[in-house]
């Protein structure tokens, strides 16, 4: 059985989600390799990748965490390998992984061109390994088709076939089926999955936001698993905030100055998942106690309110091993939508 390279047209297209959905078709078949890591966590003096952690746990893989990635930084790869040795490294790693599994899902960089200069792009990986390529595409219908035209020209020029395309996070499955599938298939690429946008997959936990912001948990540790769906910036008066229709939304994360005791106090209701306190200012102890009692995490960050909100908004809301509900949705709603057969 061939390995499966998963590449994407754009960042955040859903390679990991699609890879996971495919792996779930048969847990015992696949191992996982992400040669060029891009979602690092530094723990116990080693650098590992969030996605590797997810696959290792879902697929019950035996390898140590650091074995799933070759490096996270161009300079590291360049320091440790040249064209020849990187090929050897990839082949060795795949060889090791295939000793216990039939195939390896190889997840590439955040978009299809990433890793070219260090020979970890989809084309190089295809040449080093006995693999088939799946492209995950996302975006508006027209831009998605443009992306796939470009990719098709590029891969055809290299004489590399594409096994299939997964169209992910589409606004209207019907629209895609009626107006896109034929054109894509005319490029010689099978559309093997059309997956609608699943809102739950963009939910994230307060603890993940805390990790990403390098925050300090001031109170409400018991609520770190609370889910965040909406982000609300508490910049006006507490009275105005509670009247604001956006504030009424559920599972919200409030971002406000650490000195805005009025806003923090007003936020401590059951629809609040957590509060980000900006400018490294800690509120008075009575507020901390109330947040503790309510199980609403208060997280202090050194950023100003604008910057904190901007980063949360741009945050890559990945699926981690702790996100049971997301894993369940992938298994139930995405896996059945992918039609893939292996030789």
């Amino acid at each position: 059985m061939k390995n499966l390279i998963i590449a994407s047209t754009r960042p955040d297209a859903g390679k990991t989600t699609v890879g996971l959905a495919i792996a779930m078709l048969n847990k015992d078949t696949f191992n996982y390799l992400k040669p060029f890591g891009d979602r690092p966590i530094y723990k116990k003096k080693r650098l590992i990748d969030y996605d590797a952690k997810l696959f290792k746990n879902i697929l019950d893989l035996d390898e140590d965490y650091e074995k799933f990635c070759i490096g996270f930084d161009h300079s590291k790869i360049k320091y440790a390998y040249d064209e020849e040795t990187i090929e050897e490294k990839i082949k060795d790693r795949i060889g090791e992984m295939r000793k216990t599994k039939d195939s390896v899902i190889i997840e590439t960089g955040e978009e299809w061109s990433v890793g070219s200069s260090i020979n970890l792009d989809p084309v190089s990986l295809y040449r080093y390994t006995d693999s088939e390529i799946i492209i995950v595409a996302t975006g508006k219908r027209t831009s998605m088709i443009d992306d796939l035209h470009t990719i098709s020209k590029y891969f055809q020029a290299q004489d590399i076939p594409i096994k299939g395309v997964v169209l992910n996070k589409v606004e209207s499955v019907e629209d895609i089926q009626n107006f896109a599938v034929d054109e894509i298939e005319s490029l010689g690429m099978d559309v093997i999955g059309i997956i609608p946008e699943i809102k739950d997959l963009s939910l994230t936990r307060v603890s993940f936001i805390n990790d990403m912001l390098f925050g300090k948990i001031v109170a409400g540790e018991s609520g770190l698993d609370n889910l965040v769906e909406n982000v609300f910036v508490g910049a006006m008066s507490a009275e105005e905030i509670v009247r604001n229709p956006h504030y009424q939304k559920r599972r919200k994360l409030i971002v406000t100055g650490g000195d805005r005791s009025d806003v923090v106090l007003a936020s401590l209701d059951e629809e609040t998942s957590g509060v980000i306190l900006t400018n490294d200012i800690i509120p008075p102890s009575n507020i901390i106690s109330r947040a503790d009692r309510a199980g609403i995490p208060l997280i202090s960050v050194p950023l100003d309110t604008f910057e904190a909100a901007r980063r949360i908004e741009r945050m890559d809301r990945i699926t981690t091993i702790e996100d049971d509900f997301k894993i369940k949705r992938i298994k139930e709603d995405i896996t059945p939508n992918i039609d893939i057969h292996f030789d």
Binding site: P40, K45, R46, K76, Y79
Partner: protein, 713 residues
Amino acid sequence: MSMAEKEKDLIPLFEPDSVAIVGASSKKGKVGNILLSNIVNSGFDGDIYPINPKGGELYGEEVYESIEDLPQGIDLGIIVIPAKYVREAIGKLGEKGIKHTIVITSGFSEIGNTEEENLIVEEADNHGMRVLGPNVFGIYSSKVDLNATFGPSKVAKGEIALISQSGALGIAMIGKTAMQYLGLSAIVSVGNKSDIDDMDLIDYFSDDEKSKVIMIYMEGLRNGREFIEKVEKEIPPEKTVIVIKAGRSEKGATAVASHTGSLAGSDRVFSSAFKQAGILRADTLNEAFNWSRAFSNTPLPKNDKVVVVTNGGGIGVLSADAAEEYGVELLDDQTFLKETFEDTIPPFGSTKNPIDITGQAGQEEYEKALRKAFESDEIGAVVGLYCETGTTDDEEVAKAIKEIHDGYDDEKTAVYTFTGGEEAYDCVQWLRKNNISAYTETYEAMSSLGALYKRKRYLERKEEMEEIKEPDIDIEGIKEVLNRAIDEKRFNLLEDEAREILEFADIPMAEGRVVNTIGDAVEAAEEIGYPVVLKVVSEDILHKSDAGGLALNLENEEEVVDAYQAIYSNCKNKYPDAHIRGISVAEMLTGGEETIIGGTRDNSFGPMVMFGLGGVYVEILEDVVFRVAPVSKREARRMIGEINAFPVLVGARGQSRKDLDALADIIYRMSFLMNEVDEISEIDLNPIKAFDQGKGAKSVDVAVSIKRKVIEK
């Protein structure tokens, strides 16, 4: 008229032979009326010249219609006319040869009218005249029995000179001191300090034989450094300066980036600087009065052994607690105590210190025990605690105390408290009236004794003080490094630059270098030797651990490679706009206690040096001490001894003693660095690892920032 030479001597201000009052008034309740009344009725023997256009006579004194009518050669002018006429009056008084003038009138810089105040000073300067004020309540001087204030008319005479920056509080203090039989040698309010300021007054009172205590109510200090230098140099050992500094909550107004800067709230700096100069800082007015009483009535203790004599067990226990709080050492030689007091203590009493004669004993036993304590040369100070009982007469006890004091010519250090009702209070007042340091509360007495000891210890330290030798620091080299950053308009030095500065100052630091590739990081780690530390180098990221820019204890190539990538990724994620100059690879120092040594600049006191318990919790624990730079190695050693965690450094709980000399040497060098290199605004060496005795101390991390003004220039 050209600028005349300024009169330096303030004697005519405090000891005038003649006084002219511009604005003397016949209207009761007006400042000009109260002032004249106080001057006339205070017993002032000199000539008085009231001035008012209406002329006539006031309080038996002839009133002059204008300044022009005054004779030449008057010592002191006092102005109480509206602000807009003050400048003209100053000029006219100057024409009459008056060299000292008090401007009581307000309405100048305190309300924003700085321009007119400057013009007044300019006018006074033209006549070589010194100005006290404006916006003051006047002065009182016991030397010539002059009460030239518009405050209470009765002032108790004594040995305390009171300087107040607040007019209203100063006036209130006159009444309060009188009520408490606290005698004053002088009272002066400095108001807007347009000319005469604290510095001039320290000059005068340091020579004034009538003033034993100089008590200052202070809200701000323009030139703190000069002030403490003057106090240190000019206040003789027999005098004491006590300051009540208001504004404890005030924080330094400048934004600071370093731990040292953020810990150096102006109040902490004031306390440290005062301590360094032997100035006692009281928290409250009452505390200042209590201490002033002790210094005015009581000699400094001859040794550190204190004995408490009490007729109440409970109050004795309280006194032991208070003694600990105020750094008073109770004599603990049981054999000596037994031998000394055995004969005087009833069988049910205790010769353990506090000496408890119990409530059942009478005045006779109490007096005997006190006498024993007074007689013994081994005992440096006596604390007499008396509780009202049914068996003794309070008044008799008070009289006995006075008798003992008379017998010893007030040469023994002793403080007392009487606890009880009205009679006990009356006894306290009676003793006070007789210049004995009596209090109504045990803590007050012990705090006052503690203040006497503080002064004693300061004077002992001062005797030991040596000329501070300059360390061998390459100032030119340091300036060259700074100039590179200044040219690039960078406020914060990069790590390799900061390292260079420490090298020029001969301050040891963990070995390290800055690299820009993973390969170089591995090479550096191998040269330095594992384990190593990796840190981000960026002027935009000051607190590296907060940014995920720090990886510790890396033991092999793989860990260095991963740490390098993690640091880049973390820092770029947390500070996307940060300019990352590289990664520092440094020796991982293991063991040792983490301390911090820093330098900062205070608006009033200038360069300061700080020592304390270091590490990431430095701002939470706040276990730090400051000094005005530079300091000698001996003073640096004393700073180390002042932090709460000092026992940790000398080997608490079976730990080994740390190399305190090495720490002191770094503090000493840091203080010179701050003193000599004006471009530096702050330095943090945090942590500095103090290793075992003889093994030195090394800085793990260093942050140096440059003064904003220097960069902006």
